[in-house]
Amino acid sequence: MSCSRRTLLKNAVKGCVAASLPVSAFKFLSPAEARAAVGDPAVRWGFLVDTTKCVGCGMCVKACKKENEVPYDAAVTRTWVERYVITRDNKSHVDSPMGARDGFTDQKIDKLEIAPEDIAKAFFVPKLCNQCENPACVQVCPVGATYKTRDGVVLIDRKWCIGCGYCIMACPYGVRFFHPKYKVAEKCNFCYHRITKGMDSACVHACPFGARKIGDLKDENDPVTQVIMNERVAVLKDEYGTKPQVFYIGLDHNVR
């Protein structure tokens, strides 16, 4: 009797396994199919920030928050601008109140008044997701809810993210946070909905001074690619091996 029960069980098991194994998970799509659906591999989005042009008005942050529906009064933001004031005694003073959503309108940094004659140099550094070639955040996602598209942008699947926060921990740049409304991980995606329609990212569009530019790194004639190729540019925290794709002009060793 137990024998027949076991055979039954075995068959049931076989059935289940057979039914579920061919499922999707490790299915590879035909190249054309994949290309159409997951971004154009002929494009690689890259970003260029010219810190020497930034005046710290924060229009980019404002535009980003509104374009991407990040609650305006929440402290979190997809992009932000940092202010660096290096004094003559070689101390660096850094701040980014509300991510510079309202710009920098006060000379005080963290309630500290710095006399103009003590300032050795001062500059602004906009930050955003680096859309790394080797994104540490994607590597650590336990469920495949964040991934890199073929055109190089890292996206987050709001319907699949479990909200463990591992990606937030893994990002060396601190660009990720939990979306206060959707309760899933959130970050800059170069305004994927805009760039795939031929528009500029909202922050690029909003910047009156041309401090932010987005381009296709696979297109040699793209002005952004031209600058990255021909001029001296740097990336943030390259020691982590993430290969960031946001390039900076005028970076300083004080930049965090």
Binding site: K127, C161, A170
Partner: protein, 417 residues
């Protein structure tokens, strides 16, 4: 009101920033994530303790073995609990098993954890199968509903294997030994993995260390053994207390219980000391190495360790949690009371170690230019502050005892079977 709810940022409620901290940085991993490796550690430790008897035939641990095995079962669901509580989307937690992304330590953890659960359950099944069958037979023809339900449960638990001939039972024993043997590496792997979850985060200067998994295993075993011993003492004291009530002080039963208790405990504490030394050595090695190589992050790490978190690390963890119990255990003429204090301190020390790793790793900003202070929510005023606060942690800490109480009704681990 809705507007307001949308501006509440996860983490902002218990994070106090000073210096320059990136706008999106908060203490995202709070006390639930402290509890998670702590609980996982207790599971692994309890299992290793029981295996010492089953595999290596440490006869002196026989009494502890059965108990710690069942206790590790009770701890098992609790290891998952803080993780689930921590998720922003708890209902989606099962996705870890559906679409595991194996390059993530958490994904593989789901599989290892499931494997481990299966091993523990199977082992318990083999240990208690004879008992299930006996109960099922004893309850045959029971009239009241309670007993009938019990019988059904036992019948199911036998999985239809009613053969308790000597040959069959011998097979059970063999299976137990085998499972316990497989279980040790899996338990260590399980906990090493918890360490790997932290150790592999290259963005975090404090966590990133290849020693992390090993440190986690060692302190896991320490805390697991300590908890089993502690619970064992409490149970034996309770038995003794009942014996005193029933038969009066100085009765033979009482002295027998006390004798057995002391005997088991002395032996178990030797293993405990061994693992404790290993754990501390590794942790100190880690710190010394960081100080000597003095990478870019050392400045801020030093600041965190020697100023911000000095009390938590050197006084509470190493001092009170390691050194004091170490001395207490080594002093001659060990008494149950002193043992009890040392064990409680060791458990506390391991908890502080988890705290200092998890919270300490977020005490400094990724900018290396600012600090974040974790202000543990004490009195919950919404779901968030319950889940991520003191009461959530207390719930997690209390659950294994409740589960153990329930399991013990069906699978008695304290009686001679």
């Amino acid at each position: 009101m809705i507007e307001h709810a949308e501006t509440i940022v996860h983490g902002a409620e218990w994070t106090i920033k000073h210096g320059f901290v990136y706008p999106n940085e908060f203490i995202y991993w709070g006390i639930t994530i402290v509890m998670y490796p702590y609980m996982t550690g207790l599971v692994a430790g309890a299992f290793v303790l029981s295996s010492l008897y089953h595999v290596f035939g440490q006869k002196d641990l026989k009494d502890m073995a059965k108990f710690s095995l069942v206790f590790s079962l009770a701890l098992l669901p609790v290891a998952m609990m803080p993780l689930m509580m921590h998720l922003q989307q708890p209902l989606r937690g099962i996705e870890v098993l559906f679409t595991p992304h194996f390059t993530s330590a958490i994904a593989a953890f789901g599989i290892v954890f499931t494997t481990y659960a299966i091993i523990v359950l199977s082992e318990i099944w083999f240990v208690y199968r004879k008992y299930f069958v006996e109960q099922s037979i004893a309850l045959k023809g029971a009239v009241n509903t309670g007993d009938q339900v019990k019988r059904v449960i036992y019948n199911i638990l036998t999985l239809g294997a009613y053969d308790i001939s000597e040959k069959a039972v011998a097979k059970d024993h063999k299976a137990v030994t085998l499972l316990a043997a497989i279980g040790i590496p899996v338990a260590c792997f399980l906990h090493g993995y918890a360490g790997f979850i932290f150790g592999s985060v290259k963005a975090n200067a404090l966590w990133m260390s290849p020693l992390m998994p090993v440190i986690f295993i060692m302190s896991a075993v320490v805390s697991g053994i300590a908890l089993c011993m502690l619970t064992y003492i409490i149970i034996m004291e309770w038995k003794k207390f009942k014996a005193i009530l029933a038969k009066g002080r100085g009765n033979e039963t009482v002295t027998v219980i006390a004798g057995v208790e002391m005997d088991v405990m002395k032996k178990a504490s030797k293993y405990l000391l061994g693992f404790l030394v290993a754990a501390i050595t590794l942790e100190l090695l880690d710190i010394i190495f960081r100080g000597y190589t003095a990478m870019k992050s050392w400045d801020i790490l030093r600041e965190v360790m020697f100023t911000e978190d000095f009390t938590k690390i050197f006084i509470l963890q190493y001092g009170l949690g390691n050194l004091v119990p170490f001395i207490l255990l080594l002093l001659p003429k060990l008494t149950i009371r002193r043992l009890f204090v040392s064990l409680a301190l060791i458990l506390f020390g391991v908890f502080m170690m988890r705290w200092n790793v998890v919270v300490g790793g977020q005490a400094f900003s990724l900018s290396f230019d600012g600090f974040m202070h974790y202000d543990l929510p004490l009195i919950p005023h919404n779901l968030e502050t319950y889940r991520e606060g003191l009461f959530g942690a207390l719930t997690v800490a209390a659950t294994p005892f409740v589960i153990f109480w329930v399991i013990n009704k069906i699978v008695p681990s304290l009686k001679e079977v």
